[in-house]
């Protein structure tokens, strides 16, 4: 049926317009296709409602005037036929050219596969309900996770843990010493800001020597821990979520589980313990850098003598300030580790899901840190410590 292509004919044969039409009534229907279906051409109209409403009908094709066709025609036919229920409309592809019929029948639904059930759209209340339910589920997962970490910890204390000490050492090295440069930089800059701002205010009263009190207490008690928490959330919490999440995506966590190894013991515990060790140490380091910057600003720019600054600092720095700073640093580091590992273990099994888990780990860690900071500050102020 294709026009014979003459090899020495320089002019391509003029193409006839591609046309299609539905015809018939009652139970017998036809689709007529004619012309040249090459390259870009019009779509075939959807099945008429008179046909789709029929309880039983048959559909045949008339392709006697079809000249040439390419892959676009079966695609267009399939699109217009896909709305028909194969249980009610019998499609007979016999009238089509053999190749076209075979390709089309590969794609057409076979037998009486039931039409897909489309769920009715939910109303606003149901959508809110589902959202609330999802929040509840997330909370449940988080609580369950914290519980399993505690149980894993108790196994460690009883000497029955699957945790490897080499994993803990590796985590300590990667989260601690390697965080020092960024902690130093952030702590230096924030210390500078605090020292400058307090000095500018205090200078108006001629009370520059109190820079020491403000900077030392502020840095040791609050700022160092907060900075460490936020740096760890970005540097370490994200890494935890990505590591564990991609292990989940590759079935590596399942492989541990099927071997009888508890994933919490093996993956979460070394990371949590590493941050519990590293958190307070980094807090001390950040506080030292902050105090040093305060000293530099006060001595070099505001004419406080070095000895006076040191004396004021030591006087201001009581034990409760130090302990509270250390406690906060430890708590924030713990929250970072928990958020990172929890999001990693709950991640889905795709690259996108691992990315989502990483984002969620950082956001969750920072939110938890800020909430914990407020709660602890209020509690300690109330207790007058």
């Amino acid at each position: 049926m294709r026009p014979s292509q003459v090899a020495n004919d320089p002019e391509p044969t003029a193409l006839k317009a591609a046309q299609s039409a539905w015809s018939g009534d009652g139970e017998a229907w036809y689709v007529t296709v004619s012309g040249d279906w090459q390259g870009q051409h019009a779509a075939i109209a959807d099945a008429p409602q008179a046909l789709t409403r029929q309880a039983q009908a048959s559909l045949k094709f008339d392709a006697r005037d079809l000249a040439t066709w390419d892959a676009g025609l079966p695609s267009a036919l399939w699109r217009s036929l896909s709305a028909l229920d194969p249980a009610r409309v019998h499609i007979d592809t016999g009238g089509l050219p053999t190749g076209l019929a075979q390709i089309l029948s590969l794609a057409l639904p076979k037998g009486s596969a039931g039409a897909a059930v489309i769920a009715a759209p939910l109303n606003a209340w149901a959508r809110w309900g589902l959202k609330a339910q999802a929040v509840g589920t997330r909370l449940q997962v988080t609580l369950g996770f914290v519980g399993s970490v505690l149980m894993s910890l108790s196994r460690l204390v009883r000497g029955r843990s699957d945790m490897r000490l080499s994993d803990l050492a590796w985590q300590v090295e990667h989260t601690g010493p390697r965080s020092l440069p960024i902690v130093a930089l952030v702590s230096f800059l924030v210390g500078l800001i605090v020292a400058y701002m307090s000095a500018a205010q205090l200078e108006r009263f001629g009370a520059q020597s109190f820079i020491a009190d403000l900077v030392t207490v502020g840095v040791v008690r609050e700022i160092a821990a907060l900075l460490v928490g936020i740096v760890l959330a970005g540097r370490v919490g994200a890494a935890f979520a990505a590591q564990i999440g991609s292990m989940r995506a590759n079935d590596e966590v399942d492989a541990l589980q099927t071997m009888g190894v508890d994933p919490v013991d093996h993956l979460v515990l070394p990371r949590v313990l590493a941050l519990l060790i590293v958190g307070p140490l980094l807090t001390v380091f950040a506080a030292l850098v902050g105090m040093l910057v305060g000293w530099a600003v006060a001595v070099l720019l505001y004419g406080v003598t070095p000895l006076e600054y040191a004396y004021k600092s030591v006087q201001a720095l009581t034990l409760p300030h130090v302990l509270i700073g250390l406690l906060k640093g430890t708590v924030y580091a713990l929250l970072v580790a928990l958020a990172g590992c929890r999001q990693g273990l709950a991640a889905g099994r795709s690259a996108q899901a691992v990315g989502d888990a990483t984002t969620a780990a950082v956001v969750q860690a920072i939110v938890w840190i800020v909430v914990a900071a407020s709660v602890l500050t209020v509690i300690f102020q109330r207790l007058d410590w």
Binding site: W69, L106, D251, E252, D254, Q257, T258, M259, G260
Partner: protein, 272 residues
């Protein structure tokens, strides 16, 4: 069925299992058992739930309904310590290998030995090298998993699954993606594990060649009726199973008369 499998000890019993993701039922009404020392193959079309069934059998994912019994112990009602003791008798490989990417191949195989045996470091290493050699990877002990090809990862995963000499080996498409020689080597390995060491092998497979070579019994999951439609030795099923199963198995009939696959595409070359 009058095979020797019938006389073997019952190892796993699956009763009235239903698999579902949310409201979508994948398979239901599954009842079968796995006997000690057999090679039990799960087959079926893509998406019919073979890998999910494997996950139900190894305790990774509770089924929507039904029980998985090991002896008298119900896998999903056992406490954590029973479950983890039971799992140490399993060796499992996943479709993509699931090697732990932070360790070398050798460390992957040695980790279960380190955690669950009293072997010293030298003994662990030689055991791991032996298992890698068995799996056909004698030179990959120090390689990183990321440097292995897909087929090599699968073989390394099989070596890891064999590390503790498990009584039960679960393999998810172990020979998919292997070249014909490695695939034949794997068949041979499975047959020896089973016949000589008494290991029970449960695997999901599409490779009909290898199924006919090694399988004692075959379970066919049907995607359309959403349940099992055949269970038995593959050569029996070729004659007695429902038409769809026979059609599936006929695609590679090593000795039968109708070896030519007759698909509609074979004749689709004719031009209109």
């Amino acid at each position: 069925m009058s095979t020797s499998a019938d006389q073997r000890m019952l190892l796993v019993q699956v009763e009235d299992l239903r698999m579902a993701y949310g409201d979508t039922v994948i398979q239901h009404n599954l009842n079968f058992d796995i006997r000690a020392g057999e090679i039990f193959v799960i087959v079926g079309g893509s998406g019919c739930g073979k890998s999910t069934l494997l996950r139900h059998l190894i305790g990774l994912q509770p089924p929507a309904k039904g029980r998985v019994l090991y002896g008298t112990r119900n896998l999903y009602e056992s406490d954590e310590s029973t479950l983890s003791a039971l799992r140490r008798e399993f060796g499992v490989t996943f479709q993509a290998g699931a090697l732990w990417s932070s360790m070398t191949v050798g460390e992957n195989v040695m980790l279960p030995l380190q955690l669950f045996t009293d072997l010293d470091a030298d003994a662990r290493e030689s055991e791991a090298r032996f298992k890698l050699a068995l799996a056909g990877l004698p030179d990959s002990f120090d390689s990183e998993p990321s440097s292995l090809s897909g087929g090599m990862k699968k073989r390394a995963a099989i070596a890891r699954a064999m590390a503790l000499n498990p009584a039960l080996l679960f393999l998810d498409e172990p020979s998919a993606g292997l070249d014909p020689i490695s695939s034949a080597h794997l068949d041979e390995l499975l047959a020896h594990l089973c016949r000589d060491l008494g290991t029970t092998v449960v695997m999901v497979s599409h490779e009909l060649d290898s199924i006919f070579n090694v399988a004692d019994r075959l379970l066919f999951l049907d995607a359309e009726s959403k349940t099992m439609t055949a269970l038995g030795p593959p050569r029996d099923l070729q004659r007695t199973a429902p038409p769809r199963v026979q059609a599936f198995l006929r695609r590679v009939d090593t000795g039968g008369p109708d070896t030519q696959p007759s698909t509609s595409l074979a004749t689709a070359e004719a031009q209109p």
